[in-house]
C-alpha cells in the first residue's frame, strides 16, 4: 500500500493534500513526550556542574523534538496497524488526514534537526545518545521487535530510558553511575507499566495482530511477569541508595513508592479478572506507574540539590 491510508471513510481530499498543523503536532505523540521530557530534565538538573539556562532549554527542546521525531516515524510505519485499533484509529494517518510521505519527511527532518542542534548547543555525546535513542525506537522497537516478539517492550523499553542519560551528558559531557542507574530504573519500569495497559486493551492488540504478551502468552503469564519485573525494578530503584549515589530524601521516597508499586503489582499478579472493563487493579497500577516515575525522578533532583 503506497501512501494510501486505510480508513477511507473519514478521508477527505483536502485532508490528504494539506494536513492541518495540529495533525503534525499529534504525530509527535505529545502525551508520551511529557514523561520523556520530564525524565530528561531531571537527568539534566541532577547532573553535577553548570549549564547556561539557554543551553539547558535547548537540550530539553532537543530531547522533546527527538521524541517527537521517533513518535512520527513510529506512526508513519504503523499507519495500517493503527487503523485496526480503536485506541489509535483516529491518529492523522489512519484517519486519512495526512499524506504518508509528509509524515516520513516530518519525522526524518525533525530527528536530524534535533540531533544536530543538540550537538551544536550542548555536546556531541548527548547528541549521539539522542540519535541512538531515536534509531533504537524506530528501527529496533517499531520495525524489528514489535511485530515479532512478545518481549518487544522489554528490549524496546530501552528507547524510553535514554532521556536521563541525554540530560546528564548535556551538562557533564560524560555518563556516570547515577544516570545509568536511572536508565535501568526506567528500563525495568516499562514492562509492568506497559503490560498493565496491555491487559485491559488486549483485544485491540489482538485485532491488530501485534504479539503483545497477554495476546501470545495469556493473562496469567503476563501477570506473573509483571510481578517479576516489578521485583527487578525495585532493585533498580534502590540501587542509587545502596551505591551511595543519592541521599535519604531519594532513599525514603523510593522505598515508600516502590513498596506501594509492589503492592499494586502483586494485586495484579493474583487478580484473575477477565473482563477488561472490570480490571480495576490493572488500571490502578497503570495510572500509579506514571505518577511513580514522576515522583521518583523529582526526588532524585531534590536529593541531589540538598545533599550534593
Amino acid at each position: 500500500m503506497t501512501g494510501v491510508i486505510v480508513n477511507q471513510t473519514s478521508q477527505t481530499a483536502s485532508g490528504a493534500v494539506c494536513a492541518h498543523w495540529r495533525d503534525f503536532l499529534a504525530l509527535t505523540k505529545p502525551r508520551v513526550m511529557t514523561l520523556v521530557v520530564f525524565t530528561g530534565l531531571c537527568g539534566l538538573l541532577a547532573a553535577p556542574g553548570h549549564i547556561h539556562p539557554v543551553l539547558a532549554f535547548t537540550a530539553i527542546l532537543c530531547i522533546a523534538l527527538g521524541a517527537g521525531a521517533a513518535g512520527a516515524l513510529n506512526q508513519w510505519h504503523e499507519a495500517e496497524i493503527d487503523a485496526l485499533m480503536k485506541r489509535t484509529a483516529n491518529r492523522p494517518l489512519p484517519a486519512g488526514r495526512m499524506d504518508r510521505q509528509a509524515a516520513l519527511h516530518f519525522g526524518v527532518g525533525l530527528g536530524v534537526f534535533s540531533v544536530l542542534l543538540l550537538g551544536l548547543a550542548a555536546n556531541w555525546l548527548a547528541a549521539a545518545i539522542l540519535a541512538v535513542s531515536i534509531l533504537f525506537y524506530v528501527l529496533v522497537y517499531t520495525v524489528w521487535l514489535k511485530p515479532r516478539t512478545a518481549q518487544n517492550i522489554v528490549i524496546g523499553g530501552a528507547a524510553g530510558a535514554f532521556p536521563p542519560l541525554i540530560g546528564w551528558a548535556a551538562v557533564t559531557g560524560d555518563v556516570s553511575a547515577l544516570p545509568i542507574a536511572l536508565f535501568c530504573l526506567i528500563f525495568f519500569w516499562t514492562p509492568p507499566h506497559f503490560w498493565s495497559l496491555a491487559l485491559f486493551v488486549k483485544t485491540d492488540y489482538a485485532n491488530a495482530g501485534i504479539p503483545m504478551l497477554p495476546v501470545v502468552a495469556g493473562e496469567v503469564t503476563t501477570r506473573r511477569q509483571i510481578w517479576g519485573y516489578t521485583a527487578i525494578m525495585a532493585a533498580a530503584a534502590m540501587a542509587p541508595v545502596l551505591l551511595r549515589l543519592t541521599g535519604p530524601i531519594y532513599g525514603t521516597t523510593a522505598l515508600l513508592l516502590t513498596a506501594l508499586f509492589a503492592v499494586l503489582a502483586f494485586r495484579v499478579s493474583v487478580n484473575r479478572e477477565r473482563d477488561p472493563e472490570r480490571m480495576l487493579a490493572e488500571r490502578r497500577l497503570f495510572k500509579f506507574s506514571i505518577l511513580y516515575l514522576f515522583i521518583i525522578f523529582g526526588a532524585v533532583v531534590v536529593d541531589r540539590w540538598v545533599y550534593a
Binding site: S14, V17, T58, A121
Partner: protein
C-alpha cells in the same frame, strides 16, 4: 487532474494559511534561539 470541489479548496487554503502562520512563528522562535545560543557560546569562549 480533477479539480477539487470549492468547499475542499477553501479548506485547503485555510489549512495552508494556518500552517504558514505556525511555520513563521516557529522560524521566528528559532532565530531568537540561535541568536541566544550564539551569544552564550561566544561568552563561554566556545
Amino acid at each position: 487532474m480533477n479539480a477539487l470541489p470549492p468547499r475542499d479548496q477553501d479548506q485547503i487554503r485555510a489549512r495552508q494559511r494556518g500552517r504558514a502562520i505556525v511555520t513563521g512563528l516557529i522560524l521566528g522562535a528559532l532565530v531568537i534561539l540561535f541568536y541566544a545560543i550564539t551569544i552564550v557560546k561566544l561568552r563561554n569562549g566556545g
